[in-house]
């Protein structure tokens, strides 16, 4: 079998170049920017603060409220600004991906607001958003059990690849493209997994193993970004 060729010449398990930085929004309690190739996400954390309206308060544990928004200029065809079906769904997904690691028990009747803005989109925006949000939460001093790192695994025809670009997502040959965004804690526990397309059992297992390796690389970058922020001040 000939080696699979990706449009941008990356290897099968190679990620796009990643940059990450925390403390980019001075007015927020915690913030981070995360970019993977041409995809750029900014996350800002506000709170914990008292939940309003009062009937939304949960006396048992705090609430995590994520708001994912794509800026109108983030894609080549301008999109209408404001929430839509897709962004509301991704907001919810982000909450679910992050909730298992955040110690919300410490903040009854309170809410932690996470605002995620995609300023440039080239596939994998929800993963970039989750990665930025996890860093911003840590930067805001929220107690967490672990970091969360996210990556999308793709299947182009029958070949599994890591970190799809928009070009690859539109690859319509054979079985077509399948997108599997996966989020993991640093010890490899899955907090979020989505599947858009078709895949068999064996390949799914393989995809999860690939995600484990890929999220490790993402984790190292997140860790370094947080440590750099403190190191600079020293």
């Amino acid at each position: 079998m000939t080696a699979f060729k990706r449009p941008d010449g990356r290897k099968i398990e190679e990620l796009r170049p990643i940059t990450a930085k925390v403390g980019v929004v001075p007015n927020a309690d915690g913030s981070a920017i995360y970019s993977s190739g041409n995809t750029i996400a900014i996350a800002a954390v506000y709170g914990p603060k008292k939940m309003h309206p009062q009937h939304s308060q949960n006396p048992e544990k705090g609430t995590l409220r994520c708001t994912y928004l794509m800026n109108s200029f983030s894609v080549s065809d301008r999109i209408k600004p404001g929430p839509n079906r897709r962004s509301m769904e991704i907001s919810k997904i982000t909450e679910w991906a992050l909730e298992p690691v955040i110690m919300l028990k410490n903040f009854p009747n309170q809410v932690i607001d996470v605002h995620i803005n995609i300023i440039q989109a080239d596939a994998g925006t929800r993963c970039a958003g989750i990665n930025a949000a996890a860093m911003a939460l840590a930067h805001a001093g929220i107690p967490m059990k672990s970091m969360v790192s996210s990556i999308s695994i793709g299947k182009l025809d029958k070949q599994l690849v890591v970190d799809l670009t928009k070009e690859e997502e539109d690859y319509h040959v054979g079985e077509g493209p399948t997108d599997i965004p996966i989020s993991m804690t640093d010890d490899g526990q899955i907090t979020h997994l989505q599947l858009d397309g078709k895949i068999n059992h064996e390949q799914m297992k393989e995809a999860i193993e690939m995600a484990k390796e890929a999220t490790k690389k993402v984790y190292e970058i997140q860790k370094q970004a947080l440590k750099n922020a403190l190191e600079e001040k020293k």
């Binding site: 915690g30 929220i142 970091m147």
Partner: protein, 228 residues
């Protein structure tokens, strides 16, 4: 000098979920958790080991009220039997009429404190129902003069210093009375405004340089250089 070096070496930057130390015989302190035989950080900050106790000094995050904390807050409401105070936490604190050390006319609580007044007090109890304040101590009560500044509550221990050494230095040099609230609000009361502003600059200097080692000496130098 040697002891200082080792102390510095023990401090390292940690992120949530990162293992600080491995092995039996360690105790998890603030901001950490025991997982098997590992001590794992829960917050972003600097880890510190003293004897067997491992803790994380957080550098960001909200103010968490604790019993015994001195706080400076703002009166947000006057009720029939006390006052509601905003101390920079999601819940307001309550100062009961019973915790005021003098006789108060029940119909004229405003005479003691009005909405919008600043006050200093102590948290004497925290329960599920809320935070209870007390002003039964000298120096507590309504603030009628001086200036109030805000710092990151996580830097308050640094501003106070070991057994109050840092704040004592600032007090002595600026001739101001300073009440440091654990919630990050600081009340400075001096003879004149110049002294108060000098004290504020000194506190800003400490909170800005809170990461460096041997800060007391650096501050002493700064104070002598900037004093007119």
């Amino acid at each position: 000098m040697i002891s200082k070096m080792t102390e510095e070496n023990k401090r390292k930057i940690v992120i949530p979920g990162e293992t600080i130390v491995e092995g039996d015989g360690y105790l998890p302190g603030e901001g950490t958790e025991k997982r098997g035989n590992k001590i794992v950080a829960q917050r972003f900050g600097l880890s510190e080991e003293s004897d067997n106790l491992v803790k994380v000094i957080a550098i960001s995050g909200p103010y968490i009220p604790r019993r015994g904390n001195t706080v400076v807050g703002k009166v947000v409401n006057v009720l029939a039997n006390g006052w509601l105070i905003d101390v920079g936490y999601a819940e307001n604190a309550f100062l009961s009429l019973m915790e005021v050390p003098r006789f108060v006319n029940k119909d004229a609580l405003e005479e003691v404190m009005e909405i919008g007044d600043m006050m200093a007090g102590k948290i004497w109890n925290i329960s599920k129902r809320g935070i209870d304040l007390s002003i039964k101590q000298r120096g507590f009560g309504r603030i009628s003069q001086g200036i109030i500044m805000k710092v990151n509550p996580n830097k308050v221990p640094r501003i106070i210093g070991k057994e109050g050494s840092m704040i004592k230095l600032i007090k002595d040099e600026t001739h101001c009375e300073i009440t440091v609230g654990q919630n990050g609000f600081i009340w400075i009361n001096g003879e004149n405004v110049e002294d108060e502003i000098f004290a504020r600059r000194a506190i800003d200097f400490v909170s800005d340089k809170s990461y460096i080692h041997g800060l007391t000496e650096v501050l002493t130098k700064w104070l002598s250089e900037n004093k007119k």
